[in-house]
Symmetry: C2
Subunit: 514 residues, 2 copies
């Protein structure tokens, strides 16, 4: 057994099942060793950002890491943007980064670079393997690090000769530490805050947005009449009929501040004291107004679900949340295709258990309002703001959950960064409906120009935010990647195409011309 085989057998023994790979010459021993680890599925991406984004989507849905297999510094660099998103999502990911043989490093060959410097900003754990016989142990430590709650990116650099070296055996899995439980003081403070005069809200993030956490939060909301809010960009949110109502913290700071200004106390559960996504002139970074008392029940690192359950218990909040305004699922829309009717159609038609990957930017806002009464579904958001995350994330989610329909609600601008994902979706036959919101602009930048007071941008500024010349033909792009596609220009046509796509196994692409 060589080092590469010992490493991959270690990953398989730890329960890992998928390797998203875009290897090169320095990774050949690991490529060969994949065939010696039958538990590991190898999924090829034609660009590294596909692999890392897929690992992020997979980790969010599977709750355990996927491997990525990447080629030297430049190949790894192509995956950084989506690892940045994974880092912000607290997703467990294990990167295997090949490098030149140890004895070849001094030659400073063309592909040599400072991988550590590139990897450190996105890696919670980083190591360079230095011995074939210890490679299995390095792998076990990387997996343990990735699985340390709430999850993180672990990167293991594996020089070529270390992969070939003789190795004795795979390493036993190492149990990750448990998430710290929150202490009684924080719970008592939260009880006091929720029982005091005035309005209170829970700001939920991380695992608190999964089923059990939401239900505990729902009991607390019913008992105390507090409001539930979630981070603007969620790693993973369960939503839809039967689940407690959780408001989304608005993206723009003045709107977020207006929402938060309605409360006297904000209790953080797996969420940070909220800050603006970008800093705007004359607006502070922090979104909580000075009048709002902010206290932390559970940090992102600690067990937010247990904290919510303990808080509910101490409040005597045993009654399940019930929707006072049950509302109804929106009707299927007709007429013009717009951000509104697109969101309405999706909320009207999506099936039970869909996974909705939202990188729709401005085109997704209406959907969130409509989707509250849709059937139960899971939302995966753009946690780190690095666009090009949606399509790869959908690939990973579809591989993690082959029985569930994955809907990628995707802005056209963001889709272009990692459109190679479509090929992997076609190759693997993944059950994905990619809805491309084709407004043919970086609309958010047009909004930002206006917000900055630039009411009439010059021709260059205008051109840098416009994608309409030439217009991208998403149906042709899909065909080029081996995927069926359809263009829709009315709400009726979109709804009909969506209904067909949802009824059949994917993958398929729907271009929604907005």
């Amino acid at each position: 057994m060589n080092g590469a085989e010992s490493l991959l057998r270690t990953a398989a023994a730890a329960g890992l099942e998928v390797c998203f790979a875009n290897p090169g010459t320095t990774e050949m021993p690991l490529v060969v060793a994949l065939d010696a680890a039958p538990q590991l599925r190898a999924v090829l991406g034609l660009f590294e950002g596909v692999c890392t984004g897929a690992a992020d989507g997979y980790g969010r849905m599977a709750g355990r890491p996927a491997l990525t297999l990447l080629h030297c510094g430049p190949g790894f660099a192509n995956g950084i943007a989506n690892l940045h998103n994974a880092r912000r999502a607290r997703t467990p990911v294990v990167n295997l980064i090949g490098d030149h043989a140890t004895w070849h490093a001094a030659a400073d060959a063309p592909l040599a670079s400072d991988i550590e410097s590139l990897a450190r900003p996105v890696s919670g754990w980083l190591r360079r393997a230095s011995s074939g016989s210890r490679l299995a142990s390095d792998g076990a430590h990387a997996i343990r690090a990735a699985c340390t709650p709430p999850g993180q990116v672990a990167s293991l650099i594996v020089p070529h000769d270390i992969q070939w070296c003789d190795a004795a055996q795979a390493a036993e899995p190492l149990a990750p530490p448990e998430a710290p439980r929150c202490d009684g003081t924080a719970i008592a403070a939260a009880v006091t805050a929720l029982r005091a005069e005035g309005r209170a809200a829970l700001l939920l993030g991380g695992a608190a947005l999964a089923d059990v956490g939401l239900r505990a939060a729902g009991r607390i909301a019913r008992a105390t009449r507090c409001t539930l809010i979630h981070d603007t960009f969620v790693a993973r949110l369960e939503r839809g009929s039967g689940l407690p109502r959780v408001e989304r913290l608005p993206y723009f700071p003045e709107q977020a501040r207006e929402l938060l200004g309605g409360f006297q106390r904000l209790i953080l559960v797996g969420a940070r004291d909220p800050v603006a996504f970008f800093g705007y002139r004359d607006q502070p970074s922090r979104l909580a107004p000075p009048t709002l008392a902010v206290l932390e029940l559970a940090s992102a690192e600690s067990d937010g679900v247990a904290a919510l359950e303990a808080l509910a218990e101490d409040l005597g909040a045993r009654e399940a949340w019930a929707d006072e305004d049950p509302g109804k699922r929106p009707d299927r829309p007709s007429g013009a295709l717009s951000v509104g009717s697109l969101g309405q159609a999706l909320a009207a038609l999506q099936g039970e258990g869909a996974i909705v990957v939202d990188e729709a930017a401005t085109s997704g806002i209406a959907y969130h309002a409509h989707a509250r009464h849709a059937p139960r579904h899971t939302v995966l958001g753009l946690t780190g703001g690095a666009i090009g995350q949606g399509l790869p994330c959908a690939v990973g989610a579809a591989i993690a959950c082959p029985q569930r329909k994955v809907i990628a609600l995707q802005a056209d601008g963001g889709a272009m960064y990692t459109l190679q994902s479509l090929w992997t979706a076609a190759r693997e036959g993944l059950d994905i409906v990619a809805v491309i919101c084709a407004n043919r602009a970086y609309r958010i930048l047009q909004v930002e120009l206006a917000r900055a007071g630039v009411s009439a941008p010059g021709p260059k500024a205008a051109a840098l935010t416009a994608l309409d010349s030439p217009a991208l033909d998403w149906v042709a792009l899909a065909r080029g990647m081996g995927l069926p596609g359809v263009r829709t220009e009315t709400a009726d046509a979109f709804a009909a195409a969506l209904e067909r796509a949802l009824a059949e196994p994917g993958p398929v692409l729907i271009e929604a011309v907005l």
Copy 2:
């Protein structure tokens, strides 16, 4: 005038003309300021690797830097792979990297990351601007750094508030230092080496591969009967009829070693003591056999052209090189389309003054042999081994040289990394013929597997090197990006399509099914 405007006016005053941009919210002041700098052309890329690769191609052809405009750490990270290539090519490039406002940094907002750590591995010069009034000076220093011979990547991080700050004026251009001239000792040693018994060769790199350097090297070769060799992967090589014959150092180390083994002395002119691209078991990093004496006439940083001219002078080598074996341009091929007939067709048909961007990997080898007798042309190679360089480099070369036809000889695997380049080519109406060598495989990895002794790869290893399921439809991909395309499956069809493409202004894509 704000900081952003002072910065861009400084760039314009220094003679910069192009900004390859993929901006975000934090770069809005710079986007607005582009309209205040009429000398600067703004070219949008839909992925950052397009922008950085285009800046590389532009810099190689223009001999002066382009600006890139990139968004925060993750946006910059998407451009790293092609900056790695630019670093290895010694191309002057100036990156402007937007970041959060200084006062917003402490908030650790979602897009915040350690930009310095990401930028350092590819940047010869790196600075974070800290004052609006000094931003123009920062820009002048960045440009000076980029233009310091032989050229390098300079990265300036510009926080959002620094862009908006008031600024007095643009800064005067700063003259870069001149390249050191080589000393008489090195020239005298080279004279001795070339006059001694046995065979000698000059290994040429950098500016020595441009017209003047090549002609000086040709005089030396004629006078001393030495052989001229160039680096395997050239930043920029002038080639074709009338120019001295320069052999390419082979890619695989055993072949390179065989070539070098035929000499007693190797004189480096702007090239490094050659090393293997990858380290292979049982082969040293260094390619020069122990019997070969290696001496340096000029380092990559010094003035290799002046050194060659001085050497020619000291040798009394005044007669121009003349081809002893003038050979002839190959005929237009017929029959099956293969790597051989593809290269033959291109060499047979390319017009005077073409710029050939070679990222064809295994599909380009035959072309290099055929092209020696083609009309004068320029070759731009994959200097850093980070694939996804060819199409963006062609975009940049076409913008630098609008009067010349650019031919991107491009492997399909590498093309997928930055296929968004096709959109920029369409949008800007660039005169590019993109020849996609569609062997539907990572052929080099199949070769590497065989070289590693894996004669029968397992199904996973085989699948990770095969791009045929589904086959990419490059004509559809081109159409999706707004570009005409044609698929060719015989040498005759390819030659006919190429002839048409060369006769008309581009852009156009030809898929050559191999």
